[in-house]
Symmetry: C2
Subunit: 214 residues, 2 copies
Amino acid sequence: MEQKSQSPLSKATNIVWHQSSVDRESISKQRGHRSSILWFTGLSGSGKSTLANAVNVALHKNGYATYVLDGDNIRHGLCKDLGFSDVDREENIRRIGEVSKLFLDAGIIVLTAFVSPFRVDRENARSLVGKNDFIEIYCSADLSVCETRDTKGLYAKARNGEINHFTGISSPYEVPQSPELKIDTGNLKIDKCVDLVISQLVKKKIISKISDSL
Amino acid sequence: MEQKSQSPLSKATNIVWHQSSVDRESISKQRGHRSSILWFTGLSGSGKSTLANAVNVALHKNGYATYVLDGDNIRHGLCKDLGFSDVDREENIRRIGEVSKLFLDAGIIVLTAFVSPFRVDRENARSLVGKNDFIEIYCSADLSVCETRDTKGLYAKARNGEINHFTGISSPYEVPQSPELKIDTGNLKIDKCVDLVISQLVKKKIISKISDSL
């Protein structure tokens, strides 16, 4: 990256550094909303992806710039070199935090939907950005509910010992101590869950309002 | 991620999978432009970041959703665990390719500004996305020009042996064989370089037009 230089060559070629650049503030101004990281956490089957995607649809319908990061687009791409050891899970969440920060910087409301069971990993992600940029949303469906759903059959495999280090069965889930939102995804209807998230975004002045929620 | 389930519990809690989702096409439709990866490559000092940032400003002024990935936001964050060995440089470019793909999917015109000296790494990044989604832009300033600029003093250090594996001095730069654009950043004025990139975006129907270029 060249700075303004006094060398004759630099002048001749006129490749100089332009002070004007595009920052988060100018993007927010143009789009009419702030960016934010909505970090959904909870057990497998607690409804993180379902809720994140429903919120995403609602925001998109209202013209907000959004993106969902989840296992589908992260584990097969950016983190395909990682397994499920403690070290690899930590690195997985670290990268997701860093990518979320890039989306935040790009003016996007980014929604991440990962179990992210360890407090320290979530706090590390939070620490990368400003105080008001990170909204932790704890999807608090009980293990019994999640295990009964078990649409992917993962709990059954974990119980059989076919999967090791499975959160809730053979690996701990560290409940968030002071998340910005705790949503009872084990009992509430999806529309109500979406409303709770949207209300939080309005309250934090990330978006102004929403007319068409689902 | 729950699918529609017939289990009583799932019905009771009403957490069901919504078919409607937000895809790249619906984002493009809403924003009025396609997304794309503009992959700037060239020697250190060839003007990649300068040009990418100038294009970014021009696109932003015209209301297009954009983002620049460069050493400043990648090397200190997502890739801060990587050094400059061959393996690490390859992994660095791999991650940049994967992150670019996420931005593409989010409807953003993403501009990457990295030396990315090896053909195979650039081709790997290209292969992650559709044929029309990757625009390789070769900033072709000669080594002599780049070395004379040397605003960061890196070439001097490389010549002194203080930096090893420095592209152009002690490590090869593999010139792109068929980039979508080759721009003579050693001689052309920045305005002209920006115009060449913008024209390419219009030609490829990523954007429709631009009224205010710089």
